[in-house]
Amino acid sequence: MGRTIEVTINGTRYRHEVEPRLLLVHYLRDVVGLTGTHIGCETSLCGACTVLLNGAAVKSCTLFAVQADGAEIMTIEGLAEDGQLHPIQEGFWQKHGLQCGYCTPGMILAAYQLLSRSPDPSEEEIRRGIEGNLCRCTGYQHIVEAIRYAAEKQRVARGARSE
């Protein structure tokens, strides 16, 4: 009754036999062991399980693992490169964009998608961009500032590259 799927997660290829009903989030957490992706509702309302699937932010509790067959996935564990924090992670750290940290991986990946689509977002765009991700601790203001920090940092980096 299992089905074999192949996925690339954070650059590593995996092949597993999974039950058709296994949620992608449980696959990532329980089968692959990447527990940075969290579960806050299992009903696609909180965003704690957000990952990037072929570059787009998706709620991994609303997909079955088999639906991700052949996909490229990035989870929070894949964001820092060579131990260097990604500018968004750095922003969350510097601006205190997290308290308990439970919403944070999903929030960071939602921000990742936002900044890839709109590199210099206004406060309102940021708030709309993370509307699908709930945080009960921070009141969101420091998250907004964290994302602005990252946008600024990436802008400077782009400027440096184009010089």
């Binding site: 039950e19 296994l22 940075g36 564990e77 205190h96 308290q99 439970y102 993370i130 969101y140």
Partner: protein, 775 residues
């Protein structure tokens, strides 16, 4: 070497963040043990029913199922869910971990399935059949205590769980001397805490050692251990509770839950590690709720706005059972009933009503937001009745700064404060005069601006031991390792508040070391000495002071050792600065803190009688609570066509005493305000007349999203608390306590021209729109 203090008071980014932002932290559901099995729970679908039979045979035979247990199976083995609060004549119903014979709320656990994986466990739960005999449910607390209501716990013959009273001054006289009596009925609706991480438990039993380890998402590992040991009849030193990373609590994890004992029992009984993770639906149904008060408030006032006395009649919706602190919560409302005002006469009566609902208990603010809401609404109602500015009424009733410590009619002594100054500052920032003029002009154009003020004082740093059921102190161990690195073991149990950073700041400054030299460890009862935990805005004020106390002991011993190493007889001649001990009269003669640490362990040359090693434990017992205060102002515009509320400004001036880390303080204030905004405008736990939780998912229960929240302008004053040497007061709940009435007052100020005097929360557009039409 750094000069003087360089960490305390600075906005230092948190040391705990790295693991959290890279996805490498460990919450309960991230813990995996060899041979681990999964538990899932069958819960009551009726609010009130006799359970005639529970048929588990099909579930037992289902694929992957290891065991199924019902209430009958475990009633002898597991003691009842405890309540720690004691009030006179408190009715305490038996609270089994799995229901026996009767269920009293939707979501009450009835049976548990253990299976090889979580899917199979949930599948098997669906195969259990329960024969219910439904009984009439009672959901409304006022109806519950009225004649003829169905009785929830027959043994008491009443749904009155307790009656609690508090008086100060002469309330009858206050009302005799009043020019005017202003009264208002107000509801603090039931709220659902919704920590983003649901509860979860992993338990493992090591038969060789006879030790049960319980990883659980809790705010109180040690208190929980004591209670679990009692429930499972184990010796306390055979139970180890670990609070791993905890994904938010807000009071909802300041408790002892049935599942924590049940999963522990399963691990022992089945000889396998067991994991149970709450679904969000279960979190709504069977993790404690907050608030749930109906209050009739009467104020005896003079024509100039002076409030002579307050009379409160409060009905507290208890729910079906008491959880750990349920009855204590409304007593905090009573204690804070005169707020930041000099109101000498007070009478508070609280009636606790059993209802067929989940228990209420401590939710961020725990009784104090209720008090502040009632009083700040009353201040605006009084201003409205007397035709005075709400600022004037508040100013008239504040105690003067020189009156501190200020005694209240409820019997408290406020430690320090300057309430006028906080309000003036908030008014200045928001530009109050100008706003009032603009409000007048806009009204001419058919636009409705509202300005809402809330001045508050809260009771924090809970608290002196006599005031708490299980001790109000906190503990810390400062352990200097031979290499001079420092390990701090704190009895506090932070879960987002950032004490791994703020405590490290305190240590680094006191010992002249770097932040990276300090590691703060918490939440493991096998490692940390007994502690109380994190709640009631106490972790820094009480737990931080314990760290400070332990540091003084360490420094004292290190100084004596340093004197010995420097060949100085007179210890008083040794000074310690920037991580070095030196002779005051010969500063060239010096020895570093690290050298002293090493010497303490090598123990080759210790002063006579000195024990080797360098560590100290300190239990700090505060002499009083602390009383942070402040003023919040919300400015909103209400659209009369839709009832929609738009924020214009939000200004918060808070005084939480001395600030260790302003970045963290801002974070606490923001989060608190937004939870308050949820109560004011969005959130309400609604049960229908049959006791079904209508708002049982995030779809129906709206917690604030990023787009619901305005930019928050925070400002601060720092009036040090005299209660502890750090001068810290606490800030975890300030925002939640202050903001609700500020927002509600603003909305009601906006719609005042329509003759609307009061509306109960949440102020959803439809409610506002109807009031505008109806009035």
């Amino acid at each position: 070497m750094p000069k003087g203090k360089k960490f305390v008071g600075e906005p230092i980014p948190r040391v705990e963040d790295h693991r959290l932002i890279t996805g490498r932290s460990q919450y309960v559901d991230d813990i995996v043990r060899p041979r681990m099995a999964y538990a899932a729970i069958l819960r009551s679908i009726y609010a009130h029913a006799r359970v005639k039979a529970v048929h588990v045979e099909n579930a037992r035979r289902a694929p992957g199922v290891i065991a199924v247990f019902t209430g009958e199976d475990v009633r002898e083995a597991i003691g009842p869910v405890p309540v720690a609060s004691r009030l006179p004549d408190l009715k305490v119903p038996k609270h089994p971990v799995l229901a026996v014979e009767k269920v009293h709320y939707v979501g009450e656990p009835i049976a548990v399935v253990v299976a090889e994986d979580r899917y199979l466990a949930r599948d098997a739960v669906d195969l259990i059949e329960v024969e219910y005999e439904p009984l009439e449910a009672v959901v409304d607390p006022e109806r519950a205590i009225a004649e003829g209501a169905p009785i929830i716990h027959e043994e008491f013959g009443t749904n009155v769980a307790f009656v609690w009273q508090l008086s100060g001054g002469d309330i009858e006289r206050a009302f005799r001397e009043a020019d005017l009596v202003v009264s208002q009925r107000m509801v603090n609706q039931r709220l659902i805490p919704v920590a983003m991480e649901p509860r979860g438990v992993v338990a493992e039993y090591l038969p060789g050692e006879g030790q049960l380890t319980v990883w659980t998402s809790t705010q109180i590992p040690h208190l929980l251990r004591t209670q679990l040991a009692a429930m499972l009849r184990l010796a306390e030193n055979r139970v180890r509770v670990i609070a791993p990373e905890v994904g938010g609590g807000f009071g909802s994890k300041l408790n002892v839950y049935a599942e924590e004992a049940l999963v522990g029992y399963l691990a022992m009984r089945l000889g396998r590690p067991i994991k149970w993770i709450e679904t969000r639906r279960e979190n709504f149904l069977s993790t404690i709720h907050g608030r749930g008060q109906i209050a009739e408030v009467e104020a005896a006032v003079k024509r100039d706005g002076t409030v002579l006395g307050l009379r409160y009649k409060i009905i507290q919706d208890v729910g079906a059972y008491h959880q750990l602190l349920t009855p204590a919560i409304p007593t905090l409302t009573g204690l804070m009933a005169t707020g930041p005002y000099k109101i000498p006469n007070l009478h508070v009566q609280v009636i606790g009503a059993f209802t067929n609902k989940m228990a209420t208990d401590a939710y961020r603010g725990a009784g104090r937001p209720e008090a502040t809401y009632l009083l700040e609404r009353m201040m605006d109602r009084i201003a409205g009745e007397l035709g005075l500015d709400p600022v004037e009424v508040r100013m008239r009733n504040f105690p003067q700064p020189e009156e501190f410590p200020f005694p209240t009619a409820s019997g408290l002594a406020y430690d320090s404060g300057n309430y006028q100054q906080a309000l003036r500052r908030a008014l200045e920032i928001v530009g109050y005069e100008g706003l009032r003029q603009e409000q007048q002009q806009l009204r001419q154009q058919g636009r409705y601006l509202g300005i809402g003020i809330s001045t508050y004082v809260e009771i924090c740093a809970l608290g002196p031991s006599p005031a708490l059921p299980a001790g109000g102190w906190e503990s810390a161990t400062v352990r200097v390792e031979p290499t001079g690195k420092i390990t701090v073991l704190t009895g506090a149990s932070p879960h987002g508040q950032g004490q791994e950073t703020s405590f490290a700041q305190i240590v680094a400054d006191e010992l002249g070391v770097e932040l990276a030299d300090v590691r703060v460890v918490h939440g493991d009862t096998a490692i940390v000495q007994y502690g109380i935990g994190t709640f009631g805005s106490r972790a820094t004020a009480v737990g931080g002071t314990a760290v400070y106390g332990a540091l003084q002991k360490v420094k004292e011993k290190a100084t004596r050792l340093a004197a010995h190493l420097l060949g100085e007889e007179n210890v008083a001649n040794v000074a310690f600065e920037d991580g070095c001990f030196f002779l005051k009269d010969n500063p060239e003669r010096r020895v570093t803190f690290q050298e002293v640490a090493l010497a303490a362990y090598l123990a080759k040359s210790l002063p006579p009688g000195m024990e080797p090693g360098l560590e100290a434990t300190y239990f700090f017992e505060p002499s009083n609570f602390t009383f942070p205060f402040g003023a919040h102002i919300a400015v909103v515009e209400v659209d009369p066509e839709t009832g929609d509320v738009q924020f214009r400004r939000y200004v918060a001036v808070d005084d939480c005493g001395r600030v260790i880390n302003p970045l963290l303080v801002d974070g606490q204030v923001h989060g608190g305000i937004v939870q308050s905004l949820g109560q004011a405008l969005l959130e309400e736990a609604v049960y229908d007349e049959n006791g079904q939780l209508v708002t049982g998912e995030l779809t129906e229960y709206a917690i604030p999203k990023a787009t619901d929240v305005p930019w928050l302008e925070t400002d601060r004053m720092e009036t040090p608390s005299p209660v502890n040497p750090l001068g810290v007061k606490g800030v975890g709940e300030a925002g939640t306590i202050a903001a609700t009435p500020a927002i509600v007052n603003a909305v009601l100020d906006a719609v005042a021209p329509f003759g609307v005097r009061h509306l109960d929360m949440p102020l959803k557009p439809e409610k506002i729109w109807r009031a505008i039409r109806g009035a």
